[in-house]
């Protein structure tokens, strides 16, 4: 029977809660991880015979704690481990002890576990690697392959990141409301990073990184279950779901990125979209707008359009203007200019885009979009030089190829004019 796969799903879903409770108990990440690993091995031995326990997380916390305590004792007294039968027949004791370990604290425990991965000294990719390793339990091999580095290099990176996190001494006391809100914001940003590491990949990388997006969604769902009334967490989950819903339409057969306007919308995942839109609605009721909510609302407007040319650009313009207001940034203004171009034409958009040049002088999309606007206005020579700058800044072959198409079109058209 495929029972092992089902046990695996139960272990995966229990992992954040179990590790974070063990971490609070032992106050040491390595001991907590080892205890959890050992508990999982025992689960794989006993669950197929006895059936899975009613509360897998409680079982793992109880067994993990006992195993680790036994090891500590054994090191002291060379005592023997209790036999397997006693461990596999826990009955109600398991939930009682787990309750004591866990009761009421699990919310802050899981938040703490996620928060320690967000250490500000850690570069973004290390935060992502650490979260995927510790919280999600992805193997070092899997993470290393996705980041295109050797396994031992990734192992070293994670070990170093862990040492840094341990030295940071995140306090174990229950956080106050202000501290909790700060932790929540840091964790949200880190989870969105994890999501984007998966989402922004193209080509051969996209398959290897796909689990990152799914993991980020799973952990954000967990976070929202713990903090049900936080509109920004609703917004973050909605944003991820609405973007991930397009996964099947985002890349062509060669793994190249397909722009939103050109995507086959029949390939969008309707169930994920329904969930995303429901969350945007819920968040808006709170009337506490934030960047994730607004970005999710923008993604929602795209999701609601059956065809690209039926997109409600006026709504998108308003939403970007709101986002600009609460989080001013030239990139957001650039995005708003896309809506302006659709609503009022390339001339109006160019007026908004041009002042951004200095701030966005290293940004591929700036030159790609500006070149496109110039091309629409028939200013071919300027378009050509702008596209050349975009190509110089392209981060991937597919980005460069996309701009190359525009240049080819300009050359073809000017060729036709010359021939005619």
């Amino acid at each position: 029977m495929a029972e092992i796969a089902w046990i695996h799903a139960a272990l995966t879903s229990a992992r954040p809660q179990a590790i974070s409770a063990l971490l609070r108990y032992f106050r040491d990440l390595d001991i907590a991880e080892e205890a959890y690993q050992e508990a999982c091995l025992r689960a794989l031995r006993t669950w197929p015979q006895n059936g899975p326990p009613r509360d897998p997380a409680a079982w793992l916390i109880f067994v993990g704690r006992n195993v680790a305590l036994d090891q500590v004792r054994r090191q002291k007294k060379q005592e023997a481990l209790p036999d397997e039968d006693r461990l596999s027949d826990l009955g109600d004791a398991e939930s009682e002890v787990a309750e004591q370990l866990d009761g009421g604290h699990y919310r802050d425990d899981i938040l703490r576990l996620l928060f320690i991965c967000c250490h500000p000294d850690l570069p973004a990719t290390q935060q992502v690697a650490l979260a995927l390793r510790i919280v999600s339990g992805l193997s070092v091999k899997q993470i290393a392959r996705a980041f295109l580095v050797g396994e031992s290099a990734m192992e070293q990176r994670i070990t170093r990141a862990k040492a840094r996190v341990a030295a940071a001494n995140v306090p174990f006391e229950t956080p106050g409301p202000v501290e909790r809100a700060e932790r929540l914001a840091a964790v949200a940003a880190m989870l969105y990073l994890v999501f984007n590491e998966g989402y922004s990949a193209s080509g051969a990388e996209s398959d290897r990184r796909r689990p990152f997006s799914e993991e980020a969604i799973r952990l954000t769902r967990l976070l929202l279950r713990l903090f049900q009334t936080e509109p920004e967490i609703m917004g973050l989950l909605a944003l991820m779901l609405l973007q991930h819903a397009r996964a099947a339409a985002r890349l062509d057969a060669d793994g190249q990125i397909v722009l939103l306007d050109d995507q086959n919308r029949k390939l969008w995942d309707r169930e994920l979209i329904a969930e995303g839109l429901a969350l945007v609605d819920k968040a808006m009721r709170h009337r506490r707008p934030g960047p994730y909510q607004i970005q999710a609302a923008i993604a929602g407007v795209h999701s609601r359009a059956p065809r690209a040319d039926e997109t409600d650009w006026a709504q998108i313009d308003i939403l970007y203007a709101t986002l600009e207001h609460i989080q001013p940034s030239p990139v957001i203004t650039l995005n708003r200019a896309v809506a302006i171009a659709k609503l009022r034409g390339p001339e109006a958009a160019l007026v908004i885009v041009e002042p951004l040049e200095q701030q966005l002088s290293g940004y591929f999309y700036f030159f790609g979009f500006k070149g496109w606007l110039l091309m629409q206005l028939g200013r071919d020579r300027e378009a050509r030089t702008t596209f050349d700058r975009a190509i110089a800044l392209a981060g991937s072959a597919s980005e460069a190829a996309h701009i190359r198409q525009h240049i080819d079109r300009l050359m073809r058209e000017s060729g036709q004019v010359a021939a005619g």
């Binding site: 796969a5 089902w6 879903s13 229990a14 899975p52 769902r221 279950r225 329904a274 969350l279 819920k282």
Partner: protein, 121 residues
């Protein structure tokens, strides 16, 4: 007699299923569903979005209180339902057992319907 088969399962576990696992379960459930439908015994069926998408309206006060999240915080969550039209409890339990084999884990609450308006009026 109409029965509701109410589906409860750990949402955390269900959302940790891989895409393949999810498709495998849905494929097996589809077969059972089609057979019951062919016998004319199947009413509306629904799978609910996760409880994080739920909103609760507490109407025991005026004005009612609107809360984020599901009505009850439980280890296993209400995730969907089937309505079946069968002769008796045994037949309803038989269908529940069959659905359970296709989708192991969690529990079904088999509950007779008092009033039933399939078209809403």
């Amino acid at each position: 007699m109409h029965y509701a088969i109410l589906c409860y399962h750990s949402e955390e576990v269900v959302t940790a299923w891989t895409k393949e696992q999810n498709e495998e379960v849905m494929g097996r459930l589809e077969k059972v569903r089609q057979r019951i439908a062919k016998e004319g015994k199947l009413g509306p069926v629904a799978r609910l979005l996760p409880t994080t998408a739920a909103t609760t309206l507490r109407k025991d006060r005026d004005p009612p209180l609107i809360l984020d999240g599901p009505f009850a915080e439980t280890k296993e969550q209400f995730l969907g339902f089937y309505i079946v039209d069968v002769a008796d409890l045994d037949e309803a339990l038989g269908i529940a057992r069959e659905l359970g084999e296709a989708n192991p884990g969690g529990a079904f609450e088999v509950r007779p319907l008092a009033v039933y308006y399939p078209a809403g009026v």
